[in-house]
């Protein structure tokens, strides 16, 4: 049992072999000082959350005009750690002066803020209980692609950088259990990331493997935008901070893109469970390499620690490989967008979507009119005796109806409205004719049929 393990990095080895020799005291001190980090990173043109105001003493607190605060902001202790003492405000309460609303809709008054700042100044949230500064900064806006997975708050991306090479990464998603912070020991979700592509792989909560988010969405296959840019930022932060073993925390702002949040001199080890792989092997592979440029570091990370199999097959056949369930985006009328998950059903000809989804996509009127005529003409029992020309004539006036379809399935035959919309799947935009049917009792609101699968190969697990 006590033999040296060669794959997993434990706390003892992390502290003794990686943090102690590589993270010098001065570098650690910088990592703990958020305001100084912000200044230094900003100077090196690394995007950071904009500083609104720092408060360094009770006197400054007395003189601070809370009216000058924007509608949304984050209040942080400068020497805070583990996400403690951070207060996030989403907007002002309408009709009341200096009352703000938090993500859980609880209210924060000016007095609450003052109290919180006093606690921060007293050093209550600082690592060594020493007096501290408080500061207000810009709140990061949730990137749209992450929205379905997040209960509240903003996910961030943790990257371990060693010897100028990003060795492992995970996305941390706040959950209801974690109270909106992305802290893993509080119940946040950790999702492993493929280093080559920036696509998520396996996930954990409380160090146990999970497949889906609490609201039922698959956690694998999420594409992190601007992945190479994120890797570059992480390496740059290591060069600036001189933390040889660094945990870089980067968030993605809806408008600004990747924003560097925090340097971490003692990054946790659960990232190994999130990726279902040990760190020690990866650290050993980059040990002693001479890496001169940031680009080289990024290339090494992508080549050494990325899965390549899928890419290879895709290159051979020219077709993209998808899973039996895929994340898709549907674009309906007036550019209405809905992100959801679809079942890939090679047994079906047509692609079908659920009625409620169709309504959201702007086909409420289409459905109403179609059903009205359908009922009037006596349902399928009567309609089936007419020829297709007469049927077409009947439904001609239904707005935005592209066609109608007779679908034979195991449940019998049905007559359905067909509309034309766009589906984006695995980065490919597919113009599609889809039938609308009540799928409320079914697990997936959408099935993608053969007609729209010509460019894909389906991997069955």
């Amino acid at each position: 049992m006590f033999f040296r393990n060669k794959t997993i990095l434990g706390i003892n080895a992390r502290n003794l072999l990686y943090i102690r020799p590589n993270n010098l005291k001065s570098a650690k001190k910088l990592a703990d000082d958020k305001l100084r980090c912000k200044r230094i990173l900003k100077k090196a043109e690394v995007p950071v959350p904009r500083l609104i105001k720092s408060i360094k003493s009770r006197e400054e607190l007395e003189n601070f005009d809370f009216n000058s605060l924007p509608n949304s902001f984050v209040l942080k202790p400068n020497f805070g750690f583990g996400g403690e003492g951070i207060l996030v405000v989403y907007g002002r309460k309408k009709g009341r002066e200096n009352v703000w609303v938090r993500a859980d809709r609880s209210q924060v008054t000016e007095d609450d803020l003052r109290n919180h700042i006093k606690n921060i100044l007293d050093g209550y949230y600082s690592r060594l209980d020493t007096p501290d500064f408080a500061f207000f900064e810009e709140r990061i806006q949730l990137y749209k692609g992450f929205k379905p997975y997040v209960f509240r708050g903003v996910p961030d991306i943790r990257i371990i950088v060693y010897n100028h090479v990003p060795v492992m990464a995970m996305m941390r998603i706040p959950t209801e259990a974690s109270g909106g912070t992305s802290n893993l020991h509080r119940g946040g979700i950790g999702v492993g990331i493929d280093m080559a592509t920036g696509v998520t792989t396996t996930a954990i909560q409380y160090d146990k493997v999970i497949e889906r988010s609490p609201n039922g969405l698959l956690l694998s296959g999420i594409k992190i935008p601007q992945w190479t840019e994120i890797l570059k930022l992480a390496i740059k932060a290591q060069n600036i901070s001189k933390l040889g073993y660094l945990g870089a925390d980067i968030a993605i702002d809806r408008n600004r893109g990747p924003v560097f949040m925090e340097l971490n001199a003692r990054p946790g080890l659960s990232i190994q469970n999130a990726n279902q792989e040990g760190l020690l092997l990866r650290l050993n592979r980059v040990e002693g390499l001479k890496i001169k440029t940031i680009r080289r570091g990024v290339a090494l990370a992508q080549n050494l620690f990325g899965g390549e199999i899928e890419d290879e097959i895709e290159n051979l056949s020219g077709k993209r490989i998808i899973n039996s369930t895929e994340k898709i985006m549907i674009i309906g009328r007036n550019k209405r967008e809905i992100r959801t998950e679809a079942k890939i059903d090679t047994g079906a000809g047509f692609t079908s979507i659920d009625t409620s989804l169709a309504k959201e996509l702007g086909y409420e009127e289409t459905l109403e009119k179609f059903n009205e005529i359908y009922q009037q003409s006596g349902g399928w029992e009567k309609l089936k005796d007419k020829n297709s020309k007469t049927r077409e004539e009947l439904f001609k006036k239904v707005p935005f109806l592209a066609d109608t379809a007779i679908i034979h399935s195991s449940h019998g035959t049905s007559y359905r409205p067909v509309v034309k919309l766009k589906i984006i799947m695995d980065k490919v935009t597919i113009p599609a004719l889809v039938t609308i049917i009540d799928r409320e009792h079914l697990k997936f609101p959408v099935i993608i049929g053969r007609r729209n699968l010509k460019q894909f190969l389906v991997e069955v697990k």
Binding site: M1, F2, F3, R4, N5, T7, I8, G10, I11, N12, A13, L16, L17, G82, E84, D112, N115, K118, N119, D122, Y124, Y125, H185, R186, D207, V209, L269, Q272, N273, Q276, E277, G278
Partner: protein
Amino acid sequence: MQYLNANWFIQWIVDKGVPESTVILILMIPVVVTVIAFFRQIVGIKAFGIYTPAMITFAFLSIGLQPGNTILNGAKYGIFIFAVIVIVGILSRTLVKKFRLLYLPRMAIVITLVSLATLAVLVLGGSLQRTGLASVSIFPIVIMITLVEKFVATQIEKGSRIAIILSLETLVISLVAYFLITWPPLVQIVRDYPWVVVLTIFVNIFLGHWSGLRITEYFRFGKLIK
């Protein structure tokens, strides 16, 4: 007299007027802290640092060594008081939370409530004819009450779940250390060969260089180990 077969070194200190029990207790401190270090580095049980479990161990010892109490009683009453303090600590924290007070005044109220609850425990002990519990001296009680600050601070910083886990870990380590330092053969060894205590330094040098996985990590990363 049991002093007769004691080591000359201890005998020499005792002759200077230091009580023998004090000498043994002080020599046991290195043993206790080494046990705690072992639990942290090899087993992976964290507890509240090194100070709190060490203090709790000696609080147990102080109860157990009281006239009329046995070693087992020390553990029993110790666990009871420990549990009461943690539970009342949790309750009063949730109570005080509503007032949105600054940290120190808030903590002061929590400790006040815990103190009163401890007093009630002693009275209860007396009325149930448990004189061993009723007559617990002030030292172990004060020590255990200070546990509340550690507990509440952890609760705020890392959540109730972690705070409760760390309390249980503290209790486990303290109990192990307590039974170890009251184990007659060990007491005998320390009395006869007090220099063995110096060996703990070498044990700790080993522990300080140990970079292998902790036992708890075999469970945490179980599936990844091939």
